[in-house]
């Protein structure tokens, strides 16, 4: 059982603040680090894995600072986002090299066992540069797990992995979490995180925006008002009709379209077509104007 603790950790590169005063405790089980691209997830991961010094604050593993501390890697397994450049090795050779670097007493046995765990026994004699993205990802995880670490850090582990492999990886990580290991993975995809992690930490623009159980985070995200851009044959009539609906919070005329703020997405979607037909208004276009994850995050931060 290991715990990673960040205390008021910040990191800046010149004038750019990548991580801003983040205090986090990552304990056993699966934790998802969620945030849009460029939010500082990779910087946080680098600090937690001892590959970046915090500009201020501390990052510790079970009380030990991780920066310039080679010994932490006895407990830590790291799966970087970085591609493997050891294309000239076979999967088995690569995992075995990792086992050897840990000086495991039974490196050959450990290699075979972990290849079994990630379901890579069969392709293990092929060279890494012949692997698909999902296979490379699994070999990277095998290499990080070969010494049985109590902490596993994964940076965007599902990026570019096909859905079937993704399921497989998720099952694996869930199992590791259930075994009492501290598993932390980063992702910019909410669905990914909530399917796997019990606990979610949200970072936006280098700040720690939210923390908690995935249900709570999900509620925060779905309860926010959603903005739509709506174009029709008669915007003004439609605006007055929409305003009479409970699901709509605000409507404004904006050039050739309407900006509609919706509280209850479900009933809005059901009511709108009927309303338009009843009053002979033709709908041309309805598009969410802030559906991007970035706007969800922006809402979380502003809250």
């Amino acid at each position: 059982m290991s715990t990673l603790v960040l205390e008021s950790a910040s990191r800046w590169f010149g004038n750019v603040v990548a991580v801003n005063d983040v205090t986090l405790t990552i304990g056993p089980g699966v934790t998802g680090l969620l945030g849009p691209n460029g939010a500082g997830k990779t910087t946080l991961m680098a600090m937690m894995s001892g590959f970046l010094a915090p500009s201020s604050g501390t990052v510790t593993l079970d009380g030990q600072p991780v920066w310039r501390n080679t010994e932490i890697y006895r407990q830590v397994g790291l799966v970087p986002e970085r591609e493997l450049s050891f294309g000239y090795l076979t999967g088995r050779q690569f995992v075995r090299a990792n086992a050897d670097l840990h000086r495991l007493p039974d490196a050959a046995g450990a290699t075979e066992r972990i290849l079994e765990v990630v379901d890579m026994v069969e392709p293990a004699q092929r060279r890494l540069d012949t692997y698909s993205k999902g296979m490379r990802q699994r070999v990277k995880i095998a290499a990080a797990l070969v010494h049985g670490p109590s902490v596993l850090l994964l940076d965007e582990p599902f990026n570019g992995v096909d859905p079937r492999q993704r399921m497989h990886l998720m099952d694996l990580l869930r199992r590791l979490g259930d075994e009492g290991r501290t598993v932390l993975f980063s992702s910019h995809i909410l669905e990914e995180v909530e399917r796997l992690a019990r606990h979610i930490e949200v970072v936006v623009s280098g700040r720690h925006a939210a923390s908690g159980d995935f249900g709570a985070i999900r509620r925060l995200m779905t309860d926010r008002p959603v903005q739509y851009a709506l174009q029709s044959s008669d915007n003004r009539t439609l605006a007055s009709l929409l305003m009479s609906q409970d699901s709509v919070r605000a409507v404004s005329l904006n050039g050739d379209h309407l900006d509609v703020q919706v509280d209850d997405l479900g009933s809005f979607a059901v009511e709108l077509p009927g309303l338009a037909r009843q009053h002979d208004v033709t709908l041309f276009e309805l598009s969410p104007s802030d559906e991007s994850l970035e706007s969800v995050f922006a809402y979380l931060v502003a809250r």
């Binding site: 986002e81 493997l84 050891f86």
Partner: protein
């Protein structure tokens, strides 16, 4: 200090890249050229190619290629994290990689100089030049390893050191010999054959070679301890 796994991976990285062909081309061309000139003129004229071209140019180039191949690409693309995320001494990693680079430099740099020099006749001066090349190759590989650990432009920086500092300025100002890896090697070789020049003095040449070698490898290890993973964001 040595880590067999790291050394094995470094050797595979060195042999697995296209640069390796370049690494082999240099010694082959050097021996070929010397043999050709020896056949057309005489051994003494052919020998001049070695202190003129082989020793000051081919040897450091081979050292640059070897040192930058064992460390440079991994640092550049960040894949060295796969080695560094292990409880392995960083100085051990640097030492292991240096030993591989040194082996390559001796085999593809110093040894061909010996072979080429033997082709030209005189065995004593051939061995003298070989000893000089071995010493300089040792120092060069450590120095260039340290450079590879610091900058992405290791090859350029190392080339500038060899071509501008040791080559151009070294030819213009004799004082540069005091701070020239190649000249230290020659000074040590001079002890075996007085046909080699006598720049600087012997204790200095020995001490400086040792200091640069040890400091270079140590510094490379220290840089690896502080290796920083930069994200895309």
């Amino acid at each position: 200090m040595m880590n067999a796994t790291i050394a094995k991976l470094a050797a595979q990285a060195l042999l697995g890249r296209r640069r390796f062909i370049l690494l082999l081309a240099f010694p082959v061309l050097l021996i070929g050229l010397v043999a050709l000139v020896a056949a057309l003129t005489d051994g003494d004229a052919a020998f001049q190619i070695l202190p003129g071209l082989g020793y000051p140019l081919v040897l450091p180039l081979v050292a640059i290629l070897a040192a930058s191949s064992v460390l440079g690409p991994e640092v550049d693309d960040g894949s060295i994290v796969y080695l560094l995320s292990k409880p392995v001494s960083r100085h051990g990693i640097a030492t292991s990689k240096w030993v591989v680079a040194l082996g390559a430099t001796l085999v593809a740099g110093a040894l061909p100089i010996l072979v080429a020099a033997l082709v030209t006749g005189d065995t004593t001066r051939a061995f003298a030049l070989f000893v000089g090349a071995a010493v300089a190759g040792t120092t060069y590989s450590a120095l260039f390893l340290a450079v590879s650990a610091v900058t992405r432009h290791a090859v350029i920086a190392s080339l500038m050191f060899v071509l501008i500092w040791e080559g151009l300025l070294g030819n213009l100002f004799s004082g540069v010999a005091w701070l020239s890896v190649g000249q230290w090697g020659l000074r040590i070789g001079h002890e075996i054959s007085s046909e080699l020049p006598d720049p600087a003095n012997l204790p200095w040449a020995i001490a400086a070679s040792v200091v640069v070698t040890v400091a270079g490898v140590f510094f490379a290890g220290d840089r690896l301890r502080s290796f920083t993973l930069r994200g895309e964001d």
